[in-house]
Amino acid sequence: MNIVLSLLAVIILLLLAFIGVDVAGWRYFFGVIMPMATIIVFILGMVYRVIKWARSPVPFRITTTCGQQKSLPWFKASNLENPYNIWGVLGRMFLEIFFFRSLFRNTKVGLKDGPRLVYGSTKWLWLGGLVFHWSFLIVFIRHFKFFAEPVPAWVLALQNLDGFFQIGLPIIYATDIALLAALTFLFLRRVADPKLRYISLAADYFPLFLLMGIAVTGVLMRYFTKVDIIGIKEMAMGWLSLSPTVPEGISSLFFMHLFLVCCLFIYFPFSKLLHMAGIFVSPTRNLANTNRIKRHVNPWDYPVKLHTYEEYEDEFREVMKAAEMPLEKE
């Protein structure tokens, strides 16, 4: 049900763009208004969500420690798994953000006869996730060539690296294949594992289909039908310089691609995709385990009703006296 609905939603979006451009002729809407609105919604949405997080304090230092603490000199402290200074935190965050350190630990449990519980290492989710995110990032950066004139050398370098194998014409980008493969894997995984199917919401399938739609339309444009990319860059540059135009001759396939991209980025700040920002602010990961070294202040701390020693002694004075325990007041 969740799968069908999500797929349907993406198909409807594609049709909307197709009909909107080819039948209704709303080229200006799909080529200018929508993308410019997307940029604004995405940026403001992300800032809004992060500021909303930031307005809630981190009252306690709740680092999850995954290695030896720094205590006495002869115990080798693990700064990356259990950071004790800023460098440890930065290193830990770097590994999390760029290499999904925690996911790399993943195991799979099995119950064998005996009974015997066995734990196997399973790296598929880590690999699939890593391939997807890196491919998407590289594809995203490659698209800078449509937004920058002259095209910066590093974009060129990245693109050449991506097309390193020089197969096909136009040269096939490794990330295009990797992106589609990873998306397919991430989708199949959700469907094939009963546990995952059970926990998956429409909000889990929808972004997958959306990304697949984007990747497929992109691949179609690059490798199968040709689109007027000079016109496309002219249009893209127009958004940024606030002098938007919609050149003639851009095919509806491109508008379908663009519309899905817009949907993705509008959807971004209001969905689980927000994990992109969330990973930076997760208190179990971004705090050093310096709890007993430096006092952490809770800004909303308030006094609570306590039971003082005086009250305690008042209640138990007689028995304490009988037991010859020291007293404040005889």
Partner: protein, 540 residues
């Protein structure tokens, strides 16, 4: 303990990791005997001034909720979103990748899909989406939103008191989402409408009144310590001094109350007493702060703060220089991650320095409380105590990392260092079950009572199974741990799954191995078990 009447094989057969066809969004909880905890008693709630004390039980249809319970929870939810960034972020960013699914001991032992950490969190998250996000307000169920109904609330009660806040899932989560944090919020919300369990509120109320969870009054506390002193003299021939409420002592020692009242904790207490005497430590116990553990952690921020306050207040009253803490798991989560923030700054104390070795405990310079594993390993490193590990040769030991020292401190090598000096036969359990990946005893966070025995046995299965592995492979016959809840709940667990293995504390091993000045030749270990060849040679 009728719940225990199920045979291990019967329990195993019911474990199926394949979820049912029914959608999880339809709330359905059956309060079956052995899987839930009874409600908190009215007088304890009143003693702690907690809201809506009343008589009710989870099995009843009508939980006698206050009329505006939904409004109370909605407000409480919002309040906590504004107070805890962790809560807000964890509500927003889960992608349901499923990495946490089979990391929870309750899921592994029950196969109940709502024991997957992701779904435990979704219980709150679905209501969060419905009440607090634009997507949920517009798309409702389609966006994963759920209205807060009585059935949803019952589900919260069932599953938030079926999480031991062990944080194992948080180790594997790519965003570090910590289900302990979610459960803590869930339990606080339940408390707002008077839904509490007795096994948490009674110890908390006891602790608030008498200074310890067991409700032992000062003279009773003194009696048990004195009794231990006598017993230690019988065992070793050495009469130790164990001062209580002594002003001007250098160090205040705080241990979990079970150490002086329960077994096998008690042997650890004997170990502490012997050690402190042997090194001539100028220390004191306190009857007012006679509890290191803190069941408030399992209840709410306020209760945790109220109970924890006693340690610093007592340290100040007694005029000690710093505080030393005993073997306890969640106690150390509170002390390490919360105490200084809750009740500090401890500016009336001094930065901890070992009076025996002169070592400065730099890692505790603000909180001013040192873990006994840090303290003892420092003694061993500097050869300040003489240990004869052969006195533990009758034990083949393995070590159970307690959740909190492992995942909220990183106290991983210290206990191993001490074990390796006190014992000759130490075997590690498989690597996916120790250190930061350690499995909970299955009974932490206030769930270690008899009424939910079935779920405890299920939750403890991964730990017990790892113990069985080293028992079969290396003849391990004792499981060491540094947590009072472990020491209380692992024995029935192992009795059920691996009956041949005992449970003990590390300072019990230290006490056995400790060569004391003027001691008699030990005929027995601290448990009174005669050493081979010495049976009957001494009074036992």
């Amino acid at each position: 303990m009728s719940e225990k009447s199920k045979k291990p094989q019967e329990i195993i057969q019911t474990i199926d990791y394949k979820p049912p066809r029914k959608k999880w969004m339809d709330p359905a909880v059956e309060f079956r005997k052995g899987t839930f905890n009874y409600s908190a008693s009215v007088d304890k709630l009143k003693y702690l001034d907690l809201p809506f004390p009343r008589k009710w039980q989870p099995t009843e249809d009508d939980w006698q909720l206050p009329d505006n319970w939904q409004e109370i929870i909605h407000k409480g939810f919002k309040d906590r979103l504004n107070k805890y960034r962790s809560f807000r972020v964890f509500m927003d960013i889960c992608v349901r990748c499923g990495a946490c699914a089979d990391k929870c001991h309750y899921f592994i032992g029950s196969g109940d899909p709502k024991n997957m950490p992701v779904l435990r969190a979704e219980l709150l998250r679905s209501v969060y989406r419905n009440d607090f996000t634009a997507a949920g307000k517009i798309f409702g169920t389609l966006a994963g939103g759920r209205k807060l109904t009585v059935d949803v609330l019952k589900e919260w009660f069932y599953y938030f008191f079926q999480c031991t806040e062990c944080r194992r899932c948080s180790v594997f989560c790519p965003y570090g989402i910590d289900t302990a944090e979610i459960t803590m919020m869930g339990r606080e919300l339940l408390n707002l409408v008077g839904l509490n369990i007795d096994w948490i509120c009674t110890p908390a109320a006891n602790c608030f009144r008498t200074g310890n969870h067991l409700g032992i009054q000062p003279h009773g506390f003194k009696d048990s310590i004195d009794f231990a002193v006598d017993e230690l003299e019988e065992l070793t021939g050495v009469r130790v001094n164990a001062p209580i409420n002594k002003k001007g002592a250098e160090i205040l020692f705080v241990a979990p109350s079970a150490d002086y009242f329960a077994s096998p904790h008690y042997y650890t207490l004997l170990g502490y007493l012997a050690l402190f005497h042997e090194i001539g430590l100028d220390y004191t116990w306190s009857s007012y702060a006679s509890e290191g553990g803190n069941f408030g952690l399992f209840h709410s921020y306020e209760t945790m703060k109220r109970l924890n306050s006693k340690i610093y207040m007592e340290a100040k009253r007694l005029g000690v220089k710093w505080v030393l803490g005993g073997e306890c798991g969640h106690m150390w989560r509170v002390i390490h991650q919360y105490m200084d923030t809750l009740n500090g700054p401890a500016d009336f104390l001094e930065e901890p320095v070992s009076p025996i070795t002169g070592t400065k405990f730099e890692n505790a310079k603000s909180t001013k409380m040192v873990h006994i594993m840090e303290f003892t390993s420092d003694l061993i490193k500097h050869n300040k105590i003489k240990l004869d590990p052969s006195r533990n040769d009758h034990w083949k030991v393995t070590f159970h990392d307690s959740c909190n020292p492992a995942r909220a401190m990183g106290l991983i090598e210290e206990p191993r260092f001490v074990i390796n000096h006190a014992c000759n036969h130490f075997f590690e359990m498989p690597e996916n079950t120790i250190k930061e990946q350690t499995f909970c005893c299955g009974s932490g966070a206030g769930l270690g009572t008899d009424e939910n025995m079935e779920i405890r046995l299920r939750g403890g299965l991964p730990r017990a199974n790892a113990v069985k592995y080293v028992h079969d492979k290396n003849d391990v016959n004792i499981l060491l741990c540094i947590c009072a809840i472990d020491k209380a709940t692992l024995p029935p667990l192992l009795e059920y799954w691996v009956p041949e293995v005992d449970v003990g504390g590390i300072h019990e091993m230290v006490g056995n191995a400790l060569v004391m000045k003027g001691e008699n030749e030990r005929a027995t270990d601290l448990r009174g078990t005669p050493y081979p060849g010495k049976e009957g040679s001494e009074n036992v």
